[in-house]
Amino acid sequence: MSIVGFLSEKQRDRRFTEQLLSSPEGSKILECIQCGTCSSTCPLSHYMDLTPRRLIYLAREGFKDLVLRSRTPWICASCFNCVVLCPAGIDISGVMHALRRLALAEGTYPRDEVIPALSKSFYDEVFRHGKVNEAKVALAAKGLRGTLSMMGLGLKLWRKGRMSLSAEKTRSPSEIREMLREVAGS
């Protein structure tokens, strides 16, 4: 997504900025000095449609749609390089997490990224069982074609005892479920 030409004031949504500012991770974004340290240190920034610096800038200005449709939060690998280097002390990785939550809630996340689907199925698995078999969840998120592409590797790992499709469970998954429902409302 490239932004060329005119950004209409109609695209701005003040409440979106407020929402981000009130999240535990986004409280300091107004202090950003737009130096680009985050983008410079980010190992994946060259794949992003908006660099982390631009994303924070647009979020601050309230361009909700541009921000929540961006790929950037889904490419971020949470390596925290930006967090330890940011001269303004902004929790940039955390901002990415907050933006992911908002994009998932709004349904504006890019459909061809795998992390959104993975997050949803992962949460479902935790909700159901209290524990997670990550390989199973990952395969579910990747769909049939994705699964087939990983088959050879899976087989090799399985032979070494490093791959299992067993369902892991806590003793009483309902306890976890009730706790999640209480604090997260789902």
Binding site: Q34, C35, G36, H46, T51, L85, P87
Partner: protein, 666 residues
């Protein structure tokens, strides 16, 4: 109470500063009903001519003998109102201020709460001022000499102004030569003047000025006294050279037993370690005084007691003296100027830039030396690995504007970086890349300089570099230092391979600044810079009377600003001295001999050595001229024998009782 109190209370609006929150009319109304109060008023600006006139008229009309002004901090206007009272024939110390701006209006949101607080403070002040008595200021003559600490461009500039005004100046410098950081520069921005061409004449003027006593290789070790009358101890380290005999010919240096430059024992201080030096050396060609110095930690004779002493044999003037000892010099001065400068941030604290790991990463001061005609390469830009750079990255804001290091902007780096870009391009023809966050070109001629350097084809890339690495991804990057950056104006990531990296480090106070601040009793700010009395209106005075600040010791500054502040400080010092006397606040302590048990607790506690013990009478005695009114003795005296003017127990207690009574709704 000395007499029947007749009190006037004046509540200031301070525009909307106070009246925006506090109901000032209600406070005045409240005050008018307090016992002893004859008149109470509120007024838009008490500090204005009109406000002062109001007080003076009331004093005459109502025969007032006490005044309470409820307004701002006494730091700002205590003098104003004391002067006004004095003008109407009242003793100025019968005035007391209640601070309802900083302590109430600015820190209280709820108007009702603020109004109640203001009433309480006013009532406290009314009760207190009843116990005030007339006091006399003491006039003390001022010593007409000036001490200046630090002989960089700021100290030198201040010294010349004072000396030209006919005052004796003691100029103390801890290094063996004066000149400071500026002596390392080749050119200065924005005019590209040759630094030594403009500095050296001033250094020589200092050396030959009849009014300047130059004390190099020396440090202040003790300061006593007060404004107008400071007693200072200075330690002069031995140079092992007789300064009056040495003519700086350099024969001794030539003759020293160390012959191979690679095995010289010490990194050379002036060139920041870019070359090594012998144990006997002259700091740099234009050094003032041009006198050799022997480093006792490196000299074979001084360390081991055995050496061929080729230096002694080479000196035709018999100037070398291995028996020299350190000297303590006592001086008495009326004013002090601190001009101790800065150092650059230790770049090893930012390992991401590879300083100390990759040889071709340089600090900006090192590049200044490298470009200097008197430097180790005669001004040729040759890298540590012997190559000439074809591409150079200059990185701004290294440790500046960064919560993790220094929050502030170091002010000089943008222009210094542009200057280095120009000089490096001129000397090497290399491609220059500058990485900046914001280009700050605020001074006279700076914007023009920025345009000029931009016009020379320097690549100005807006983006902060996060790391310098040698991990190459492409064949073009092999053997280079790689800068990965977001070109924020393009909104894209770039990787730029270069041969040389120049880091523009943040400035921080010179080594030992905190200790020095303690020694001189001046305050420092959160970053350890010496604190000025007021950031706008008293930028040259420190919070300690008679001590003034100049140059980077007070905060990062370029040369024009350092010189400006230095000459301002010199002006302030001269104004103080030429008045001939100072008036000391009569807030000093005194001993009630009846009560004094002679326990001597106060003698040890007084930070100013102002308490003597009279052995014969077995009583403590306060030396008025030395007492600064800090209150330590009064607070610690177990028999309450020590009282302090303006802070007597009865005054303080009355104030507290007044505040409490108001809070109880009385």
């Amino acid at each position: 109470m000395v007499d029947e109190p007749r009190i006037g209370v004046y509540v200031c609006h301070c525009g909307r500063n106070i009246a925006g929150v506090v109901n000032v009319a209600e406070v005045a109304e409240y005050a008018s009903k307090l016992p002893g109060v004859v008149v109470a008023r509120d007024y838009m600006f008490m500090c204005s001519q009109g406000g002062q006139q109001l007080i003076q008229d009331d004093i005459r009309k109502y025969r007032l003998n006490r005044i309470v002004v409820a307004s701002c901090s006494p730091n700002l206007h205590e003098k104003t109102f004391r002067r006004a009272a004095k003008g109407a024939g009242l003793n100025p110390y019968n005035v007391h201020m209640a601070n309802i701006r900083e302590q109430v209006a600015w820190v209280t949101e709820d108007p009702e709460e603020a109004t109640e607080k203001a009433k309480a403070l006013v009532r406290g002040a009314v009760e207190r001022v009843k116990h005030h008595e007339p006091l006399e200021e003491k006039k003390v003559p001022v010593k007409d000499k000036v001490l200046i600490v630090g002989a960089g461009i700021a100290g030198i500039s201040a010294a010349l102004v004072c000396a030209n005004a006919g005052k004796t100046v003691y100029l103390v410098e801890k290094e063996p030569s004066i000149g400071g950081m500026m002596a390392r520069f080749d050119k200065t921005f924005p005019t590209l003047d040759c630094a030594s061409c403009i500095l050296t004449p001033k250094m020589n003027e200092v050396a030959s000025h009849p009014n300047i006593k130059l004390l190099t290789y020396s440090e202040v070790v003790d300061v006593e006294g007060y404004v107008g009358n400071f007693k200072v101890k200075i330690r002069k380290k031995p140079r092992y050279i007789k300064e009056d005999l040495c003519i700086g010919c350099g024969d001794c240096v030539e003759a020293c037993v160390f012959k191979n430059p690679r095995f010289y024992p010490k990194p050379d201080e002036w060139s920041l370690g870019l070359k090594r030096r012998k144990p006997i050396y002259i700091p740099f060609p234009q050094a003032v005084p041009r006198v050799a110095v022997i480093d006792p930690e490196a000299c074979v004779y001084l360390k081991y007691g055995k050496c061929a002493q080729t230096c002694v044999k080479a000196c035709s003037r018999n100037a070398i003296d291995f028996t020299q000892k350190e000297e303590i010099i006592d001086v008495e001065v009326g004013a002090i100027i601190l001009a101790t400068g800065y150092k650059t941030l230790d770049l090893r604290k930012l390992p991401q830039y590879g300083y100390g790991k990759y040889p071709n990463v340089y600090s900006a001061p090192e590049v200044e030396v490298l470009l200097n005609a008197s430097g180790p390469t005669g001004g040729e830009v040759v890298l540590r690995d012997g190559r000439k750079p074809e591409s150079i990255a200059i990185i701004h804001c290294v440790g500046s504007r960064d919560e993790k290091y220094k929050k502030y902007c170091s002010r000089i780096c943008c222009m210094a970086a542009l200057k280095l870009a120009h000089l490096l391009h001129e000397r090497t023809g290399a491609e220059i890349y500058e990485f900046y966050i914001d280009m700050r070109a605020f001074g006279k001629g700076y914007e023009e300089f920025y345009r000029r350097v931009a016009g020379e084809g320097v690549h100005l890339i807006r983006g902060k570099v996060s790391e310098i690495t040698d991990a190459a991804l492409t064949p073009e990057e092999e053997g280079k230092l790689i800068v990965r950056v977001e070109d924020t104006l393009a909104g894209a990531i770039r990787r730029i391979p270069v041969d040389m990296v120049v880091l523009m480090p943040a400035l921080e106070p010179a080594v030992g600044s905190r200790e020095l601040a303690k020694l001189f009793g001046v305050s420092v700010d959160e970053n350890s810079w010496f604190m000025e009395r007021h950031p706008k209106l008293a930028p040259v005075a420190s919070l300690t009377d008679g001590v003034f600040l100049a140059g980077c010791a007070q905060g990062p500054k370029d040369i024009p600003d350092s010189v400006m502040q230095a000459e301002g400080a010199a002006g302030q010092a001269l104004a103080l001295i030429d008045k001939g006397y100072v008036e000391l606040e009569p807030n000093i302590a005194y001993v009630d001999e009846e009560k004094c048990s002679g326990c001597r607790i106060c003698v040890g506690l007084c930070p100013f050595g102002a308490i003597e013990f009279d052995e014969e009478r077995g009583k403590a005695r306060i030396v008025e001229a030395l007492c600064k009114g800090c209150g330590t003795c009064a607070a610690s005296c177990p028999s309450a024998a020590i009282q302090q003017n303006l802070f007597k127990d009865q005054q303080v207690m009355a104030e507290i009782k007044g505040v409490l009574a108001a809070m109880r709704g009385g």
